[in-house]
Structures are given as C-alpha cells and as structure tokens.
C-alpha cells in the first residue's frame, strides 16, 4: 500500500512539473509576447525592456522555468503588475470563496444524488426509475452556466426571492448562505444526475452480490440490508468521481462567479485578463491545476485503500 501511495504521489509531482513546463513552452511558442499584451500597443521599447527584466522574461526559457520552480516552491508566484502585491496573497483571498462554493455545490448534490440513485435502484424498471433516468441525463447534459443564467432570471429577477449578486456580508453568516443558494444550485444540478446514475449502477451491482443475498437469506429486513450494507459500498465510486470531477467543478465555478458577480478564483482570472494582469492569470491557472491534480491523486489513494485490488495495478 505504502509503495502505491509513494508511486502515485511521485506521479502527481511529475505531472505538475510537466504541466508547468508545458504551459511555459506554450506561452513562448504562441505568437505575441506577454509584455506587449500587458502594456498595450503604444508602449515604448524602454518600458517594455524594463518590465521584461522585472518579470525575468529576458532570460532563456530553461532559466525562466528554473526560476519559476524555485520561486513557486517557496510560495512565490510573482507580483501583481498594478498593486505590486504578491500574487499568492491575492489568490489566497479569493480561493476561500471558490472552495466554499464548490464544497456547498458538491455537498447538496451528493446527498440528493445518492438518495435518488438508491431510490432508482430499489424501484428498478418502474416508471419513476425511468423518469429519474431521463432527468439525470438531462441534468448532466445542460451546461451549468445556462442553469446559472436561468436561475438568476427566474429566482432573482422575476420572483425576487434570492439575491442576484455578490457573496453577502462577510460578518453575516445567514446573508452569506442566502447568497450561496443559487450558485451552488447551478453548479450542483448536473452532479445530482451524475451521482444518481453512478449510485444506481453500483447499487444494482452490489445488490446481486453474495454477501447481500446471504444477509437477505438470514431474514434481515430489506431496508436494513439496503441502508446498512449495500449503500455503504455503493457510494464508494462517488468519492472517485468527486475527486476526478474537481476540474469540472473549478470550471463551473468560474461561470457561476461571473454570472452572480461573486468574488473567487474565476472572477479574479476574468478580471485579470481584462486588465492584462498576466502574473495573476498564470498564478491562478497553476494553482487550479495543482488543486485538480492533488484531488485526483487523493481520490485515487482513498480508492486504493478501500479496494486493495486497484493498488496492485500501477
């Protein structure tokens, strides 16, 4: 087991290093240079040269990458072009909003999804199972930002039930929760469908396994067997899916933050693109990549711990 964990972790580090290198190489092979993009077309050559030097862009590419790594390890992702504040602290402020949103979205959708999946499996092939199946697919297929826009239109603009913009007063917990409802609903909706389908499939598989049949044969009540034994196993794949789905959640959060004008990583990136604040954009992209890789790695390790067969594959 320890061997697997070490292997998986070193693979994760390798992927992150490779991803950063790839991003750097890509940036340099694309036409146009960051300095001109940042300063605009009317910048003087002197100004360009000084900014290039400040950002270390006049060094050869391998040196730049090496610089970046040594800095990144010490938590230094460069400084904001305008305010001269460290990028890490700017991102840190926004990250908590995004993580809170993602956590809220995945919590409600996992609860509802597990319940619906379980229900479908028990009521297999009935009308309600079939309706739920179609609903699940529809939830999965609908882009989350369209859900955001329509829930904003319906619940905020027309009905006026819920606030339309912002993250709420930072001292008022209730206000913050109210502001979280629509964005978390929009991001989580497709996950309800996804998790419901997953739980239904694994529940059906588990219900036909020997230990469940034995438990039933011993005369244990059906409900007891389902909730006590089958469901516990059936929600395992959900853990993996949430880990792997972190990338999708981060992407969906970008849209929700824009639509509901919430502070967060996504809004920070979009604002930084419009103001051409290049170090902030790169820092945020790198951080979200790292979050994604870490969460997939963690879910792989948790999975291997729960099911020892996986550990032997790598």
């Amino acid at each position: 087991m320890l061997g697997y964990i070490i292997k998986r972790l070193s693979l994760a580090v390798l992927i992150i290093v490779f991803a950063i290198t790839l991003l750097f190489v890509m940036i340099h092979s694309i036409p146009g240079d960051p300095v001109s993009t940042m300063l605009g077309p009317r910048a003087t050559p002197e100004l360009k040269a000084s900014l290039e030097e400040r950002m270390g862009l006049n060094e050869p590419l391998p040196v730049q990458i090496a610089y970046f790594f040594t800095n990144a390890i010490t938590g230094n992702l460069g400084t904001d072009v305008f305010t001269n504040r460290p990028v890490t602290s700017i991102i840190g402020e926004q990250l908590s909003y995004t993580l809170m949103l993602i956590f809220a979205s995945i919590s409600w959708s996992a609860l509802l999804g597990i319940f619906l999946g379980c229900y479908s499996a028990i009521k297999r092939n009935t009308i309600s199972d079939k309706i739920l199946a179609v609903l699940s697919v529809s939830f999965i297929a609908t882009p989350s930002f369209v859900v955001s826009l329509y829930s904003l239109l319906f619940f905020s603009v027309y009905l006026g039930w819920l606030p339309a913009i912002g993250a709420g007063d930072s001292d008022d917990l209730w206000d913050q929760l109210i502001h979280l409802v629509l964005p978390a609903f929009s991001i989580g909706l497709s996950w309800v469908g996804y998790i419901a389908r997953l739980v239904r499939a694994s529940m059906l598989e588990i219900m036909s396994e020997n230990h469940i049949r034995t438990a039933r044969a011993f005369g244990l009540p059906r409900r007891w067997v389902i909730y006590r034994y089958a469901l516990r196993l059936a929600i395992l794949p959900t853990i993996t899916v949430i880990g792997v789905g972190m990338g999708f959640l981060l992407s969906a959060a970008v849209f929700a933050e824009i639509v509901f004008s919430r502070p967060g990583l996504g809004k920070l990136v979009i604002d930084s693109i419009t103001t051409r604040n290049y170090p902030v954009v790169m820092g945020s992209v790198l951080l979200s990549t790292i979050i994604f890789v870490v969460s997939t790695t963690l879910s792989d390790i948790i999975n291997a711990m729960l099911d020892p067969r996986i550990g032997r594959q790598l």
Binding site: A141, P143, S272, F292
Partner: protein, 286 residues
C-alpha cells in the same frame, strides 16, 4: 462474413430505433444540422443588420423572438448560432480524434518507454481544468474562433488517446493479431487494417457523447467574451447580451439557452442510445 456484418448493422439500427430517446436525439441533431446548413434560407432578416429604431422589441409576427439592443432580429441570430456551434464542434472532434488515434496507437503498440511518455503527456493535458486553461490561452493570444478550437482540441485529446490506447492494447494481444504477425505482416498493416477498424466503433460513440461538452464549452467561452467575436451570432454571445440586459428582456437568454440545451440533450440521447446499441453486452440488458 459480409452477411454477419449486415446482420450486426441491422441489429444496431433496430435497437437504436426501438429507443424513443434515441430517435428524439437523432431528430434533434438532424434539425440542428439542417438549420445550420440552410440557415441562409431560414432567417427572415440579416442577423447582423442594425435597426436602431426597432431595438429591444418583444416577440411579434415580424420578429418571432423580438429584437436586441441594436435592433437585430433575435430569431435570425439564433438560427445562425447553430452554424457557429457546428463550426467549432466538427473540426474539434476531427482534430482531437485524429491526434488521439495516432498517440493512442503509438502508446499501445510501441515500446514501453514511449507508452509511459505518452501516458504522462495525456495525464498532464488532462490535469488542466479546461476553462482555466482556456482563459490562460485566451489571455495570451486574444479571443477568436480558432483559439477556441485549439483549446478544445488540446483538452479533449486525452479522452480519445486513452481509449484508443486501451483498445489497441487489448486487440494487440488477441490471437488473430498473433497469427498475422507470424505470417509476416508489417506493423503498419496490423495497425491500419486490423486495429484501426476495431477501435472505430467505440470512438464514434465517444465522439457523439463529447459533442455536447464541446458545444457547451464554446458557448461558455463566447458567453465570457473569450470566444467568437461580435457581430458573429453565436448562442454564447446571445447569452452574454441577454445577461447584460437581463432586467430588460428575457428573450435573448431564451434564444441563446433553449437551443443550446436542446442540442446538448439531443447529442447526449443520440450518443447514449448509440452506445447501448453498438455494445452487444448492453444490448442484451435492455
């Protein structure tokens, strides 16, 4: 052999058309493709012609979905938007599938070190959260249709590459390939004549199921103002305008969102039914 293939195809078609959702998906996709092809004949107005006098009107007989803030006919812009969606989806799928095929087959058939290197590359590409990656690229090169296509190709290569690799690996060790090898077939012949046709089915299904994601992503990027440039009508840009005018008119949001939802649903139903119909194991279950 030919008889058997015909039977297989008939079986797939029979199973496909027995499923109501599959048929619905097929019809929706056909409708969308036809309206994209014949958009020029369907639209009642020039989708980019300005008419400030008639700005922000509600639906009427002359303007089915009303007009936007510049007096452009929303219905015409919606119909034209289907064209942009397909313009992005088709080259993207083609590009990603081609590159995925090459990388996956090399990984599956080549030496172990090359396999490891390609897997590392695919895992790395997969580790960028798509939208964040897209924003980074757009920040550098500026928004355009080509940028969107490039971004989606790069981020969908791993999906295809991994499936092709797994399939190649499993076919490679089968007995008929061993027989071919012992008769002196070249690697190219084995790859092109035997392995390629066998992988095609799963990849076609996967592509049908990836198209909704691609169309959604294109619309999303255009919504953020990072995709198609104005005045080109796209569903994403309709949603963007609808968002800024959300307190004035709902029609822009409806014209951008409803076709988007219906199309993604159509492709998803089509893909899912196709998957069940093509796979003999799933066919039996239903």
């Amino acid at each position: 052999m030919i008889m058997k293939q015909n039977n297989e195809l008939q079986l797939i078609i029979k199973h496909f058309f027995r499923n109501i959702l599959g048929v619905a998906g097929f019809l929706i996709v056909m409708l969308m493709v036809l309206s994209a092809i014949f958009a020029d004949f369907i639209v009642p107005y020039d989708p980019i012609a300005l008419n400030i006098k008639e700005r922000l009107q509600g639906p009427s007989f002359s303007h089915l979905l009303g007009t936007d803030q510049l007096g452009r006919d929303i219905f015409s812009r919606m119909v034209m938007g289907s064209r942009v969606a397909l313009q992005v989806a088709l080259p993207t799928v083609f590009g990603a599938v081609s590159i995925g095929f090459v990388l996956g087959m090399i990984a599956g058939f080549g030496p172990k070190w090359l396999d490891n290197a390609i897997i590392l590359l695919l895992d790395t590409l997969r580790s960028f959260p798509t939208v964040m990656f897209a924003l980074a690229v757009v920040a550098l090169v500026g928004p355009s249709l080509e940028t969107v296509i490039f971004i989606i190709i790069v981020t969908s290569i791993p999906t295809y590459g991994r499936v092709v690799r797994t399939q190649t690996l499993s076919i490679k060790s089968s007995e008929f390939i061993l027989a071919e090898k012992s008769m002196g077939s070249s690697t190219a012949r084995i790859l092109l004549v035997h392995i390629l046709p066998n992988i095609f089915g799963p990849i076609a299904v996967l592509s049908a199921m990836e198209i909704p994601t691609i169309i959604g992503l294109e619309a999303g990027l255009s919504f953020l103002g990072m995709g198609v440039r104005p005045p080109t009508p796209s569903w994403g840009s309709l949603l963007n305008e609808g968002y800024t005018l959300i307190r004035n008119t709902p029609w822009l949001l409806i014209a951008g969102g409803v076709p988007l939802i219906i199309t993604t649903l159509g492709f998803t139903f089509l893909g899912e039914t196709l998957r069940d119909a093509v796979d003999p194991k799933l066919r039996k279950r239903n």
